[in-house]
Symmetry: C2
């Protein structure tokens, strides 16, 4: 069985810093390769994924500056990739909505992982391509989709890349995009109210520069509130691993939240706000707590002190390992590969006018 | 020879009101049909074009409200259209940049009319698809592109739909989008300085509502400066035909400017500002004047009074008739249809990584 996984051309696989989807693709491709599956990844030329790599655009191109051009670039990359693999691949695994239009080409089976937060208009678009096998990354997300074929496969990580840190220091951590929905301002507020210092890292996206300037930067003093720039794997191990708790004080319905798994992998419990996937990823009382807001989190912050780092990591190992994720995807690929009948496109055909 | 012309799904072909590209497609398809060419138009179901029509989306959807969803809708429509015609059409004529990615499919020859104003990043995108035959709609535009295959074919109109009006009334007219680049504010200024009333019509796009409110609306008094809403064909015949001159006081490089031909078709001369295609469309001294700005236009406005309506229309007939445009496109189609070798895609292939 040959599997083609199509990433975007903008961020390398795995990402050097920001890029949840690219991290997912790297882990999936490497895990499949280790299990002897013939995998090809279509990404940019700066990628270092341990699987066959094909690319049209050589370098990273992030953040996006010209939306129109970049959507054409993405489309060109995807069109080229699909044309390259449509004859040879048994499974084509897509990760961006525009790529779905190429699933009209017959030959392989099509899989699509829904990375994007739910939007009614996107769901309507997905439903056009009813022959595609959809994967939601949380049950929260699955329940919002009324697709014919959809199942949840939680993300997983190669936990060998994260060190269990048994000794925690008395500070809170935050890793994520510096964006309102990620709640960096809530993290600062929790730190101030609880009197526990905060160290945080993450990409300041151009769109949210004002937010950073007006809501975040004034609080940074380099001692009590400390900003460490963008985080690579080494920094995440350090920052998350030594921290008594990672804050995940979101203000949106998180589709998955891979960074919660990263924290747990270092044995650090997560103090999260409820929303989206959170209740599926954090096991209340074992690997963290799920709170209702700043006040609730501040009041309950000491609960995490009793959680054993080894138990936190064990939970991550059990539920969110790369191996588990890879097995789940392999099962899905195998199921549709074994189906003798090619999904028909009758729904699409019927919508054509007479 | 079977020709498939792909329009967008947003505006019907021909358009009920706004839509230069859709008007072009309607005229081209109808003209080709009359010459016995087998034509299919992919547009929305509200289209009334006199040629075979196929559609996926039934209704008009304009103006665009959700950019992301609409670009997916456009892509879906185009992908469906290409899949529907790729086996049966000899020529596929595209009109939007994202559609170019489907030209990787072999079989037909591909033609692309460049409707969009020049942008370096778009040109870079076009150059990827070097097997496509490009048509620029003015020489001004052609000179900006360094494509392998590109030729200019000026737009043309079915002049039988425009009445020659020999008696002009003493007012100026303007028809076009109510947008800064179209210079409605300049039209108002010229009217005020020359003491000649202005009647204007055109779509207020959501993006430019502020411009309308602050720069245009305060001047509208219903007598000296009069706004007539959006213009359909009947209103254009009336408004343009009776006017002593149509103003075209642009502040950008107009790609073509079909409304100049519409004015000339009614025998009304055009007072245009220089930029883009203007010098190619207006024949100085015969069908209008090309000015350097508000002051110049005001000073020279009386020059148009000497221009004979019949001569203005005769010039439009000679240079911008539907028949001439259709013949030019047919010649292009025939040329590439007769080529025995299919354009190879070696440039695209070489960009793939080893």
């Amino acid at each position: 069985m040959r599997v083609a996984i199509i990433a975007s051309p903008f961020i390398s696989v795995p990402p050097k810093r920001y890029g949840g989807t690219e991290l997912f693709i790297a882990q999936l491709a490497e895990g499949l390769s280790r299990m002897g599956v013939d995998v090809v990844v279509y990404a940019n030329g700066a990628s270092t994924v341990s699987a066959e790599l094909r690319w049209l655009y050589e370098n990273d191109d992030w953040p996006i500056d010209c939306e129109m051009y970049n959507s054409l670039k993405d489309l060109n990359h995807t069109s080229w990739a699909v044309n390259d693999c449509v004859q040879s691949a048994d499974i084509v695994h897509l990760n961006n909505a525009s790529g779905l239009v190429f699933s009209r080409l017959r030959g392989p089976r099509w899989v699509y992982t829904i990375h994007h937060p739910h939007m009614a208009q996107l769901s309507e678009f997905y439903s056009i391509f009813s022959h595609v096998e959809y994967v939601s990354i949380s049950d929260f997300q699955r329940q919002k989709e009324s697709l014919k074929h959809v199942r949840t496969i939680h993300h997983g990580l190669d936990l060998s890349q994260y060190r269990l840190q048994n000794r925690k220091s008395d500070y809170l951590s935050f890793v994520g995009r510096i964006a309102p929905v990620k709640g960096v301002h809530n993290a600062i507020e929790i730190a101030k109210r609880s009197g526990i210092p905060l160290k945080f890292a993450g990409e300041i996206q151009p769109l949210f520069r004002d937010y950073f300037q007006s809501c975040i930067k004034p609080h940074i003093d380099g001692t009590f509130i400390e900003y460490l720039g963008e985080a690579d794997l080494a920094l995440k191990n350090e920052l998350l691993g030594n921290s008594m708790a990672m804050l995940f004080p979101i203000e949106w319905d998180e589709p998955f939240g891979l960074v919660m798994v990263e924290a747990m992998a270092t044995g650090t419990p997560v103090v999260a706000f409820t929303g989206g996937s959170v209740a599926e990823v954090v096991r209340e009382g074992t690997s963290g707590i799920v709170c209702q807001g700043v006040e609730d989190a501040t009041a309950r912050i000491d609960e995490v002190r009793g959680m054993k780092p080894a138990a936190v990591r064990a939970y991550a190992q059990q539920c969110f390992s790369m191996e588990r994720m890879v097995r789940d995807y392999l099962l899905l690929y195998q199921e549709i590969y074994d189906e003798l009948t090619i999904s028909d496109e009758s729904t699409v055909g019927k919508r054509a006018a007479a």
